[in-house]
Symmetry: C2
Subunit: 398 residues, 2 copies
């Protein structure tokens, strides 16, 4: 007996060519054996979005954002039309829907709109009529009848939002086999995780793991949408993201996330007047500089050191703002942020202290440390990364 | 004092590159001196539609037509976004609207939908707010919320329909200077016409003149929308298409249209049973073979000759159908249809007889003749075309 329905999402690399689109069509057809109703969400084909960005750059270096959404949304519209054609060609009823047709309502700014609701009557109508429904990810429509886009990773968010509205599970197919304890590009013997909780996944995604966007995990958590992440060929078992309580056997630490290209900025002050630093942070925010870990230390001679991390590509704008404020500052550039994540940290105090102990025994200098309820992040020198990964993997069985 | 408003249409060759889009933007800005409200309708950029067709061919040789509309409509969507960006970049308020956003409602088959209405509240709202409104031509939305396209020449039809709904005139900018008495590629001294009636233009467009699509002329005639056709640089005066009564000084014959690549098919029958020929025409219609002039003659020995013309590219399918019916037939391939058009024919009998007299005096063999209220068409041998054009141009002062 087949299950009610599923939302399947394929990213840009899975639909980059006509040949790959045909393979995706075949996989969707096989899914019909398992599920009665199939909704597929797709991204723009491979390099399509970059092609469109290049077109806009020929017209304007600071293009109107509403018109950028009008332009970029054509990328997914091309994919859905071609994928639906491929399914029709193979003798299956399929129909494509742009974001506005699928009732995908958004609010907020262009190019980074947020999901308001999915008014899915038309989706449900076509599913009842036996169609495979192909929906353009990443895009929606706002109250002014403008086409909008959701920003980076928007197609994952689209898929989860549609799954939530239909009360279906969501399967995300990509070019990796699932979620690993450590990025396999950094540590080749990393283990694939069968199960992860929403909270751990969200922490990982926020701390640099690129396999899924934080927004889509938040949405799945809120609406309790089971997510399955797997390789687009689906020939090996991927990772299930579910509620904490559904995971029977748990590791203390489920993941080690690595974020490189970090810039650590140190500012030396003769006063701890918070207005100076506040003003710096407001200016950085206006220039879209994301600030990550912030720390402040007082030295014995009444000097204060304020440190923060950001991504390396912000170096020029940070320099400019700090020079304008006539502040004493320096950088540390060759550093990496390593984070260990696990729900067990919430209840088992020993995990965090054991991590510090290991780093100390191995003479690893810590430039900055930050903790959350279920994670600890360390900013360390690049030359220590390999050693730290090895000792953490062994200690925490990653 | 500036006039109320205008709809301006630019075709694909006028917007083929970023540079050309910027030139179009500059011309639109200059139009603001003349008109308070500007609505611009544009086609897909240059070769964009062919690119999209090639993509679809990689997936299916007989693609689902609804999905073709979904695919092809992205072409104009890209143009409107970029043109609006260019206007914004130049400091002007502009906003782009896809067909569905502009309230362009259609009915009928995909890829050849017809205009139902233009619900122009959103267009009017943005005009009132001072925006230059840029609308995607060629596309609309049907009652099922599907994206539709209007088929060949659809952007002209879009522009005229929007002009009709706003009660604005319509200016169509293209790569020719206007409408000529004879196609200047055939007769280089042809004169440009300052004024033409809707009826003459429609007859011309139907008889092979490619400067404007018949559907858009019909629509303009019905809603009394003044059309102005001119070169996209607009540095020479073009042609005005208006109501018959508005044209003060008139030629007897306003236009000589030439349609080459004609196939004349002769079928010999021993009976005049109409069922045989009717069956042939139904079969041809099912294969999308357009039949133009049809004539039937009876010979003294009780044989009948049925002749019709079609375009040369239909030769294979016509042969196949006539062979299946086991009919005696032959072709004449190297022929051209020449038509003379003028409202004066309706009232002045001498025009038609003078044309026949000239052809007889010049020993031009007529393979077929067809007449309407305001035109006569002759199918003649290709080698006679140059001579006939020369004598008609002289006789009728074209």
């Amino acid at each position: 007996m087949s299950k009610k329905g599923v939302v399947i999402k394929y990213g840009g690399s899975s639909v980059a060519t006509a040949e790959k689109l045909n393979q995706v069509a075949d996989r969707i057809i096989r899914k019909k054996e398992e599920f009665k109703n199939i909704v597929t969400v797709v991204s723009a084909m491979g390099k399509k979005t970059n092609e469109l960005l290049n077109l806009s750059e020929e017209i304007s270096l600071n293009p109107n954002k509403r018109e950028m959404d009008m332009l970029l949304s054509t990328g997914e519209q091309i994919t859905i039309a071609l994928l639906s054609m491929a399914l029709n060609e193979k003798g299956h009823k399929a129909i494509s829907l742009a974001g506005w047709q699928a009732g995908f309502r958004t609010f907020g700014h262009h190019m980074k709109s947020k999901v308001q609701s999915v008014d899915n009557e038309l989706i449900e109508k076509y599913l009842e009529e036996g169609y495979i429904v192909i929906i353009a990810g990443f895009q929606g429509v706002n109250a002014a009848r403008d086409i909008t886009t959701l920003g980076r990773g928007g197609s994952d968010t689209s898929a989860v939002a549609i799954a939530a509205s239909l009360e279906y599970p969501c399967e995300i197919y990509t070019d990796v086999e699932g979620i690993y304890t450590v990025d396999p590009r950094v540590y080749k013997d990393a283990k694939k995780l069968d199960y992860l909780s929403y909270e751990e996944t969200l922490e990982m995604a926020s701390l640099g793991a690129k396999v899924i966007e934080p927004r889509s995990v938040e949405l799945a958590w809120k609406y309790n949408v089971p997510i399955y992440i797997a390789l687009n060929t689906n020939d090996v078992e991927g990772t299930h993201i579910v509620k904490e309580g559904k995971i029977m056997e748990k590791k203390n630490i489920t993941n080690l996330s690595i974020m490189d290209n970090i810039l650590l900025v140190n500012i030396e002050l003769n006063t701890n007047n918070p207005e100076i630093i506040n003003d710096v942070f407001v200016k950085l925010g206006n220039e879209n500089v994301n600030i990550d870990i912030i720390s402040q230390n007082k030295f014995s001679d009444n000097k204060y050191l304020v440190s923060f991390t950001t991504t390396l590509d912000n170096r020029e704008v940070v320099s400019k703002i700090l020079r304008e404020k006539k502040l004493n500052f320096d950088y540390i550039e060759n550093v990496t942020k390593i984070s260990i994540i696990g729900n067990a940290m919430r209840t088992q105090a020993g995990v965090a202290s054991r991590a510090f102990e290991i780093l100390s025994q191995n003479n690893v200098e810590l430039h900055q440390v930050s903790t959350s309820e279920i994670s600890i992040s360390y900013v360390i020198d690049n030359y220590n990364v390999e050693k730290v990964v090895a000792v953490f993997v062994e200690e925490f069985n990653l």
